[in-house]
């Protein structure tokens, strides 16, 4: 009895499914599936191509930026990097300030940045010294530039460093620039220039 009922129900299910399929297929045949599919395919293609285009464009921009960053990094790393700039700067500053204090000159400026190259720092100090020397009302004494025998700084090291800078031409360039710019260049330049040279080579 139960088996018969099951068979009947199954037959009813089959009938229902068949009817559903028939009606749905009528709907499907009316809907023009192929043309709809073509339209959707075109949409998908245009979307994917534009997506790929922007992906490529973005990839190009990112790779260019990366290359530029790497090149900049290489250039920055290849530049000569002084050791112990801060120590040398402080030592030289102390020394020169002490020298300049003999004529009650204003203190030297603080370094603007710790990453500033050594050449420019030292050149700045020497240029400032020269400027001050050239604008002094009283003439500079030779002993003011004489190399100290007992100082906090190791004089031999400092001398070596200054000579090295002089050989590189940085000091010379700054000295000449300062001399050119100075109002009293015509009167003071030969004397002051030779004094500074002597100071550097002392």
């Amino acid at each position: 009895m139960a088996e018969k009922t099951s068979d009947e129900t199954l037959a009813q299910i089959k009938k229902l499914i068949e009817e559903e399929k028939k009606e749905a297929l009528d709907f499907f045949r009316r809907s023009n599936f192929t043309s709809q599919l073509r339209t959707r395919l075109k949409e998908e293609k245009s979307y994917s191509s534009s997506f790929i285009y922007w992906q490529k464009k973005r990839a190009l921009l990112i790779s260019t930026a990366l290359v530029l960053i790497i090149v900049a990094l290489i250039i920055w790393l290849s530049l000569p990097r002084p050791k112990g700039v801060e120590t040398e700067w402080a030592a030289l500053k102390d020394f020169l300030e002490q020298r300049l204090s003999l004529s009650n000159s204003p203190p030297l400026p603080e370094p603007t940045s710790s990453s500033e190259p050594k050449i420019s720092s030292l050149s700045q100090v020497i240029a400032t010294t020269l400027n001050l020397a050239l604008t002094q009302s009283c003439p500079l004494q030779e002993e003011a530039f004489s190399w100290p025998s007992k100082k906090k700084v190791k004089s031999s090291e400092l001398e070596k460093k200054i000579i090295q800078l002089f050989r590189e031409g940085a000091i010379e360039k700054f000295l000449l620039n300062c001399l050119k710019e100075s109002k009293e260049v015509s009167d003071a330049s030969p004397d002051a220039f030779f004094r500074i040279c002597w100071f550097v080579f002392a």
């Binding site: 099951s6 129900t9 199954l10 299910i13 089959k14 229902l16 499914i17 009817e19 559903e20 399929k21 009606e23 749905a24 297929l25 009528d26 709907f27 499907f28 809907s31 599936f33 192929t34 709809q36 599919l37 959707r40 395919l41 998908e44």
Partner: protein, 159 residues
């Protein structure tokens, strides 16, 4: 060649979908996927099985997604209903709802095998090829699916 199976694909999608409009959308998804993967079809002789496998996977994915949403294409649904006799609509609708609800509550393996057989009208051999199982397994699983469906419908009628 693949488009010659469009009605078969649609019928299978109908088994997984709630209405013909949804089944049509699903069929389009199937074809889009198939066209994207067409290079993976090495032997054209097995194109039917290959397409049916894509259909099955797409429908199962769709069912997973549609559990969390309740999408109903009202426009298409209305268009579909227009062609039905209003007197029989209520009864048929009710019966179909019971049937659809029962099918959707079947375990995944039983559901797919029932749809392949009843909606796709596939032979045991074809079902075995699509699901990559033995013919005997197809028969026993289909029998279990029918029994489960009957039980679910009885439960629905009684309760």
């Amino acid at each position: 060649m693949l488009l010659s199976y469009q009605e078969l694909v649609f019928r299978l999608c109908l088994g997984f979908a709630r209405d013909p409009a949804e089944a049509e959308d699903l069929s389009q998804e199937v074809y889009l996927k198939a066209l994207k993967k067409i290079k993976t079809l090495k032997d054209p002789a097995v194109a039917k099985e290959w397409l049916l496998r894509i259909t099955r996977n797409t429908c199962l994915d769709y069912q997973k997604k549609s559990r969390s949403r309740c999408r109903l294409s009202l426009e298409s649904q209305a268009d579909f209903k227009e062609r039905m006799n209003p007197e029989t609509l209520l009864e048929k609708k009710e019966l179909r709802q019971i049937l659809k609800g029962a099918i959707s509550r079947l375990p995944r393996r039983q559901k797919e095998i029932l749809i392949l057989r009843e909606y796709g009208d596939l032979s045991y051999e074809e079902i075995a090829s699509v699901l990559q199982i033995k013919k005997g397994t197809v028969m026993s699983r289909l029998n279990r699916a029918r029994q489960s469906l009957l039980r679910l419908i009885q439960e629905k009628k009684n309760g």
